[in-house]
Point group: C2
Chain length 498, copies 2
């Protein structure tokens, strides 16, 4: 049908089965500052009872943003919020009060420490849902976890909403968890204490996704956001475990030119990086890249020419912050790193990863979520993602802690199933998953290992065996595998047991 | 309901109204090379008759990828392809043969030059649909333009599919048009002549979106991809027009600290950048950023400390390629630059932009698509996007070319409606859109201007007025406004007129 449009033209609007609208007028676009207060931003986003509000955890135990936001939500008289943070820390203890007051009634995300302890004993209306980094990204991407308002803490932002975690007094490293929230949430608020001249550089989150920029006095305590200087343990037993991890990688033929390894900031993991650095030198090997978290120790390897590229999703210490301020390199957001619904993840290239555990069992199942008393005190993090992705997934642990056997018949909670766990390296020996016949063949003759049952027996002998946690029937938590299925459930801890 | 899952756990799967699937098993992920040939990649992607295949145009007139892909499609015996390229150039003349053979039957995208001439005279089954850069991004994003297979030319890629246009023999600048294709297309093929060690750095497109990496001998002719050294015109009339543009910006109060300006590579636009650089020096002004296309001239301004940041979506000359290889700075993909469905675009910050025209009319409507004989020879590019975004949108043109009046009663085709066009700067005077009373007030007394009708009268006097194009009834093209509406239609050119 020919119609006269707003430009005065006679235009056809029907083409076969396709109908198009005629031009209805043009206007000038422009820019209005998005700068406001946190409270106003929440109001303008239409905050109301029952909404889902998301956060990233990159300010770690220095974060002020979750608490400030919940205070503003309470001030606005809104209740029944579903928290969708990537993780909580000790600093988030006030969340317990918001739960008691009904401001927060549901949680999907890690709740380390005190909030975890509380929720373990006081079930919320629905169980807390825990996902791995990659699993959470996928859940937000697919709409399984629909976010109404994404709160994105930034150490610097411009008035348009372009923002970063790389510069500013509270720098924490590139924002890497929030891109999917920015794309998928109905509303997006950037929270910052540092407004920079347009355009903010670098900019991990861009204005195209941002509704408001909320300026606050301080987003966090810089001393608690990154560690000034990470130290490698001097515990001889831990150092020995770390060294055996590197021996195992070497025996498996992985310490070769082009190697890809994961780095973390945990005690044994950090020590393993140090020993790996020495082994790269000894063997005159150049790795192709390190992935995961950036630390001074990785930078040392890079500067020594022993790793060509650094792919990082987190930054852990001051030296690394300074390093990326000078050269951003290859930051990888969590979707790039671990989204299981994607066509390829950086984690999939891993040759070796060293991970921890609160418990392991004779089926090589690993628990990192609950303690043996049943309390849900830790998140999944990248444990599942990297374990399933790495050619050699090593779990390090002592066989017992105090009177508690860590290697046991059955873990209290499964975080990562034994099917993707390859080796358990302990203070009393190494066990190799019998499913990995290829690995067993490679290391035969160069690495001593024992059946995992032997490690369990030693642990039981030393401790008298595991105590039974005192659990109720209520389900307080759901552990999801990163494909969205229910891997395990966590039941209420009866208070009189504690 | 409690069920026993694949990890041997009794888990609940129903929580209120939410049902979840029980864990069904874990497997190791890993990496298989995505490297293959272009033909095999197309086959593996399930190429079939009627599919939509997209391309970016950043290899410009040096591009071999569109022609190679169509040759492979023909070889596979597939027909009726809808081309969804961002633009075609002279090098793509073979597309005419593919149209004649039925390999290509529909086109959504710019078809500059010979293909445009052909289609103007030989309608395809459906009209060609032309969109601005931002409009195309939005159409792919919203699904209005659904892409089956995205072909992404890269000057370097790794076997995982991470890729770039910044390094390699055929470097063309950061890939900036294809992110939305990568995210939305059902299948994605990266085409490159340079395989680099994993991980490719930088990486504008990441493995998470890529199905196959097709290695070809050469993606293009480097000499035709970027210009060795751009030269500023020495045509006195053009230089005079460029200088008047800068005078107009200055009179409008825009040449102040914090200014944001758009840079291009067209003759007058380039000269305007040169004069703007001089004016910044004279007035001791520091702009906050330049957006658009990067050239040596912008880099000179940056090095002189007269612009703080460079936001660029394209790279035009060898010096700029070398510059970004050293420091990537702030590349802006086309969605960031101009997606009209986003919450903020870099273009919206523009204080001033200088654009061209094939015709302008007394309502300040601008044509950049057709010549006055009706032939559809040019794309929209960023014309609409920047015109609607910039505070001061200047169109530069001579009032006539040879015997053809450029300033006229009515443009042959509307590309950008007069509502967003502020000034016409010509070799015979300046006209200001009477709708812009604010602008008129600012420049009164410092800039001489005339009614646009005066410019038209002069053009008609010199040429005897416009000739009527000899057009048929068939609609061969649709010009969309960036919001998806029909701004104008283009009718068939009768061959005997040419």
């Amino acid at each position: 049908m020919l119609v006269r449009n707003a430009a005065g033209r006679q235009v056809e609007t029907t083409f076969g089965e396709v109908t198009m609208k005629p031009f209805s007028g043009a206007r000038k676009y422009g820019f209005d500052s998005k700068l406001t207060t946190l409270e106003k931003a929440l109001k303008h986003c239409g905050l109301k009872n029952g909404m889902t509000v998301s956060f990233h955890h990159q300010l770690r135990n220095g974060d002020f943003v979750v608490n400030q936001t919940l205070a503003a939500i309470k001030e606005l008289g809104v209740k029944d919020i579903r928290l969708a943070q990537t993780a909580l820390f000790t600093v988030h203890q006030p969340v317990i009060e918001y739960i008691k007051e009904g401001v927060v009634s549901r949680i999907e995300g890690s709740l380390n420490d005190s909030v975890g302890d509380y929720v373990s004993k006081h079930p919320l209306n629905s169980p807390v849902i825990l996902r791995s980094h990659g699993g959470r990204w996928a859940a937000v991407k697919t709409g399984e976890l629909a976010v109404d308002i994404a709160i994105i803490a930034a150490s610097a932002a411009d008035e348009h909403g372009n923002c970063t975690g790389v510069v500013g007094d509270s720098a924490f490293g590139p924002i890497s968890y929030s891109q999917v929230d920015a794309m998928k949430a109905a509303h997006v608020i950037v929270v910052t204490d540092t407004i920079v001249e347009y355009p903010c550089q670098p900019q991990e989150i861009q204005e195209r996704h941002v509704d408001y920029v909320a300026q606050v006095d301080q987003i966090g305590d810089p001393k608690m956001i990154v560690t000034g200087s990470l130290k490698i343990t001097d515990d001889a037993e831990k150092l020995n475990i770390a060294r055996q991890c590197v021996d195992l990688m070497d025996a498996a033929g992985l310490i070769e030119n082009g190697m890809v390894f994961q780095s973390g900031a945990g005690g044994i993991s950090l020590a393993a990086v140090k020993y790996l650095a020495e082994r790269l030198e000894e063997k005159n090997v150049v790795a192709s890249c390190a992935t995961g978290g950036l630390t001074k120790f990785i930078i040392d390897i890079y500067r020594a020419g022993r790793v060509k590229k650094i792919y990082y999703s987190q930054v852990f210490d001051t030296e690394s912050i300074q390093f990326i301020q000078h050269d951003l390199g290859l930051p990888a957001d969590i979707g790039h790193y671990a989204d299981p619904t994607s066509k390829g993840r950086t984690a999939d290239s891993l040759d070796a990863v060293v991970l921890g555990a609160t418990e392991v069992d004779v089926d090589f199942n690993v628990n990192v979520n609950t303690h043996s008393d049943g309390r849900l005190l830790h998140g999944i993090g990248g444990h599942q993602d990297t374990a399933a992705a790495s050619y050699l997934t090593i779990i390090t642990t002592p066989i017992f802690r105090k009177t508690n056997p860590i290697v046991r018949e059955s873990v209290t909670t499964i975080t990562t199933p034994g099917a993707v766990v390859d080796a358990i390296v302990t203070n009393r020996g190494i066990a190799i998953n019998p499913l990995r016949k290829d690995l067993l063949k490679k290391i035969a003759g160069s690495i001593d290992f024992v059946p995992i049952e032997t490690l369990k027996d030693m642990a039981y002998e030393a401790t008298g065996g595991p105590a039974s946690p005192n659990l109720g029937d209520d389900i307080i938590g759901i552990i999801k595998w990163f494909d969205g299925t229910v891997l395990d459930i966590v039941r209420r801890v009866q208070e009189d047991n504690i």
